[in-house]
């Protein structure tokens, strides 16, 4: 049984059908990457899993249990942690406080949470010196580190990462992906990426989304050799230049 299974998921925002029947699965211990152009429905898929978007129809099974329609607070307590697009680090709280709040889904004494947050800096040494800096003072790469660290504080069984490389300098992107390859030792990851090369480099499996549907799924090598992924990938660029 896969850890996460999505069956024929449809999500509507008013008139717009953002997802038009998505079916995919994430096996325990894998890193699965969702690829696709802008507006293909990648973020909406993650938002539906974490409870931010209500499914119109279809089902989402986590560990065999349906979680479709549950609220985000309930879902994160079950062990799905969502690091959303744009990092969403609380601007008026310090880095340490941001990271500590990541443990809000479980009951633990504050002193223990504080210790765990300190330990998190071993995985993210670059942000250790900003422990007491307010969120808004950080750069994009640092914010991404804080956001991922905060997501990991939930001790998730499944980590949802939305566009971790967006807007970052190439060297920072490398650092972020190095962290993802370390996270995968303990945690299953569902990764959304526009950067197909980076996204597939850490993945065990990949899916390609196009206008709200999965058009292709396969091992990274197979996808990379496929014309369709190049089309989907280039399709994103074509829209930009049009």
């Amino acid at each position: 049984m896969p850890l996460l299974e999505i069956r024929n998921l449809v999500v509507r925002y008013g008139e717009i059908e953002a997802l038009r029947g998505v079916t995919c699965a994430v096996e325990q211990g894998q890193v699965v990457t969702l690829l696709g152009a802008n507006g293909a429905g990648k973020s909406t898929t993650l938002r539906a899993i974490s409870g931010l978007a209500k499914p119109t129809s279809g089902d989402i099974l986590f560990d065999g249990k349906s979680i479709a329609g549950l609220g985000p607070e309930a879902i994160v307590r079950m062990g799905i942690s969502h690091v959303p697009e744009g990092r969403r680090v609380f601007p008026g709280l310090t880095v340490k406080e941001n990271i500590m709040l990541g443990a809000s889904n479980r009951r633990a004494p504050t002193s223990e949470i504080s210790r765990e947050a300190d330990a998190m800096f071993d995985l993210f040494p670059d942000i250790r010196k900003f422990t007491n800096a307010l969120g808004w003072t950080l750069s994009g790469g640092q914010l991404q580190m804080v956001a991922v660290a905060r997501g990991l504080m939930a001790k998730p069984r499944l980590l949802l990462l939305d566009e971790p490389s967006l807007g970052l300098a190439p060297v920072i992107v490398q650092a972020v992906f190095k962290i993802i390859s370390e996270i995968r030792r303990n945690t299953t990851v569902l990764l959304v990426e526009q950067n197909a090369r980076m996204g597939l480099s850490v993945a065990d499996y990949g899916y390609v989304l196009e206008t709200g549907r999965i058009v292709l799924g396969g091992k990274p090598d197979a996808l990379w050799g496929n014309e369709a992924i190049r089309a989907a990938y280039l399709g994103g660029h074509a829209k930009v230049s049009a």
């Binding site: 985000p72 969502h82 959303p84 969403r88 406080e97 709040l101 479980r106 905060r150």
Partner: protein, 290 residues
């Protein structure tokens, strides 16, 4: 000089009341992005609860606790009845609902208690003490003391506790807070209870200085609202500094310039701020956050 010291004391005393109500405004605004126009009514209702409890024969301290518990309950009802059903709407319906609630509260008290202003005794038997040239009224001393304690409590609560951090996180980004497992509706509930109790405390403390009347809520609320704008809207420290300065300014204005225009000075300062420094004293920080 002696007069100035005396006025400073009185001004800070009345300013502390504005500061408490302003703090309630700011906390609800930060948690819900909505100005609660019934915040002043919280003060009025608490003062009447206090009058009722004292007339029922309760000792002063017990009446005080009963009134504050009543306010906590009002905070719960207010949240469930006014904010919660409209929480997914834009700010406008919520603001109108708070105005509606304010009218409802004022008229309910009017219907039950009638239009005659009531008198509430102060906490202490002794009216006050003379320290050098300044006469310290015991009720003003109480107001200042309680406000100092609350400001310290507020700082400790929001800066030093995890619950305070969760409340801050909720006010900064509700969706992200919910993704982390923070119960947003609980955080907003706590905010309403706390703000209702703060407003209530202000009303109970100021009641022996003023008359307890239906209008006292709107008068205090207007001043407190001016205080939040002077301090920088949405800023906790700003609300407190704004409230205190407003109290001092209007007391000095009344003494040295004109008593009938006492209320006018507060709004003159408000207008000056709106024209020359609309972001308020501490407004810059909000801009940096955005």
């Amino acid at each position: 000089m002696d007069l100035a010291l005396q006025l400073l004391f009185t001004g800070i005393g009345i300013g502390a009341v504005y500061a408490l109500v302003a703090l309630g405004f700011v906390l609800i605004f930060r948690a819900t992005n909505v100005v609660n126009f019934a915040q002043g009514e919280f003060s009025m209702v608490a003062a009447y609860l206090m009058v009722v409890a004292v007339e029922a024969g309760l000792p002063y301290w017990a009446a005080f606790i009963v009134a504050l518990l009543g306010m906590a309950l009002l905070g719960v009802i207010f949240n469930l009845g006014v904010y919660y059903p409209l929480r997914h709407r834009t700010y406008l319906p919520v603001i109108i609902a708070t105005i509606g609630a304010s009218i409802l509260l004022a008229n309910s008290v009017l219907a039950i208690y009638g239009p005659q202003p009531q008198v509430l005794e102060g906490w202490f038997e002794t009216p006050g003490i003379q320290v050098g040239p300044v006469y310290l009224d015991s009720q003003y001393l109480l107001i200042i003391g309680v406000t100092i304690c609350l400001v310290i409590f507020n700082f400790w609560f929001f800066e030093k506790t995890l619950l305070g951090k969760k409340l801050q996180a909720t006010s900064q980004d509700k969706e992200m807070a919910s993704l982390l497992g923070i119960s947003v509706s609980t955080m907003i509930m706590i905010t309403f209870i706390y703000s209702a109790v703060l407003g209530g405390l202000a009303g109970i403390l100021v009641a022996p200085v003023l008359f307890v009347s239906i209008q006292m809520g709107s008068t205090i609320a207007l001043k407190a609202f001016a205080a939040t704008i002077i301090g920088g809207f949405g800023d906790v420290a700003g609300a407190i500094i704004g409230g205190l300065s407003l109290g001092v300014i209007e007391t000095f204005g009344a003494a040295y310039i004109s008593v009938p225009y006492k209320d006018g000075f507060a709004f003159l300062v408000l207008i000056a701020f709106l024209i020359f420094r609309p972001q308020g004293i501490f407004g810059e920080r909000v801009a940096e956050k955005a």
